[in-house]
Subunit: 233 residues, 2 copies
Amino acid sequence: MQPRFIAIKSALVDDIEHGRLAPGDQVESENQLAQRFEVSRMTARRALSELVAEGILARTQGVGTFVADSRPMSSMLTIKGIKDEILARGHDYQCRVVTREKRVATPSESRWLGVKEASPVYFTSLIHYENALPVQLENRWVNPHWAPDYLKQDFTAMTPNYYLNQVAPLTEADHVVSAVLPENDTAEKLMITPSSPCLQINRRTYSARGIVSVATLTHPGERYRLGGHLDFT
Amino acid sequence: MQPRFIAIKSALVDDIEHGRLAPGDQVESENQLAQRFEVSRMTARRALSELVAEGILARTQGVGTFVADSRPMSSMLTIKGIKDEILARGHDYQCRVVTREKRVATPSESRWLGVKEASPVYFTSLIHYENALPVQLENRWVNPHWAPDYLKQDFTAMTPNYYLNQVAPLTEADHVVSAVLPENDTAEKLMITPSSPCLQINRRTYSARGIVSVATLTHPGERYRLGGHLDFT
DNA sequence: CAGTGGTCTAGACCACTGG
DNA sequence: CAGTGGTCTAGACCACTGG
């Protein structure tokens, strides 16, 4: 059974997608929606509030609720593997497997991966080299449920990303980019000093059925940049 | 008069910022909060829901609500101004204009902006504050051709991004994200030590007719992260 | 089982906007 | 002024989790 506020949201999004509501148009008031969908005003309001939070609608007190101006910028960013990136630059690529093991999820790991606390997870730690210099330390936690044979793979031949995309095709990803100082052993693995800033990406990848893996990708700041291009037209 | 759910949110955020609640800790349940603050469960719930939406807390049905690994996070895929981002988090926003002047483009500036060497460019340097702490140093070079009145604007009222988007609507943007150590004067402006890693974004924005401006956005690593979500379906 | 979060109701009073 | 959104209450029933 679908919650009612979801049904209302869907109806409104549908109206927008089919052009029955254009940017700038006023949408029905909370009271009108409540009446039309036979729900309490609080429920109609919730539907509107969430659409406002998602940037799809905009509200002004005393005036009304309107369809917001244009478009979530959908991304042109891709999850290109580091290996492809390096090879595309015409550079030499190498990979070293540091750790490959079954672990018991810590509370925070289990929350990230969406598994029960203390359940088994697969963990790998790899270093990726560009022209013999480390450019990425990849620490990855994998939900064994979606990739039971994960630990048996030869990651020097096929990156974890590539393998996981085979067994559980990627449908979504979240990521958080931050600037950090490396832990001592991370610095050592990346052949940098502990006072060198690193660009760190925390990425969570989803297949159709759930969270497949969580990765922490740490890059020496002086050897790696992240580029992007956005087109709003 | 401050809404009650805001008071509850503030109290929880305060507990987190003062270390009375650490990442992973369970926070009071909706019922406990309702009792402690003498509000209805719906109001306590609203406070928690908003903190969850902001990524500060995480909830699991039947289990409880927990402190998430929390630093503010912004979207990589939208060019939402830092101001909107901060306000959207319900935080206090302030801005200080450090520099505002006409300059002669250096060779590298002129290359970035796509103007002739030694032509005049407009330069502004602003510091954006979230809850009185600097979160972004915005150094921006503007092509006077597309925004002749740029320097006359009151940037504490309207961010450069917003103004430029009015006079020369944004159609494209390039950006490069990197982790760097700040220059001494940058560190001072951001109120951090020169050994604190910074997340730096170099962004070039285009309107239909050419490059409008180039900006270097420098953020203290411990106060800013960049988030994104990709959907491949 | 008791406790948690998730949804929902039918009211209330308020602040704000426009005519 | 009537209508809008903003906040809030005191209940209800549900699904889910852990012990």
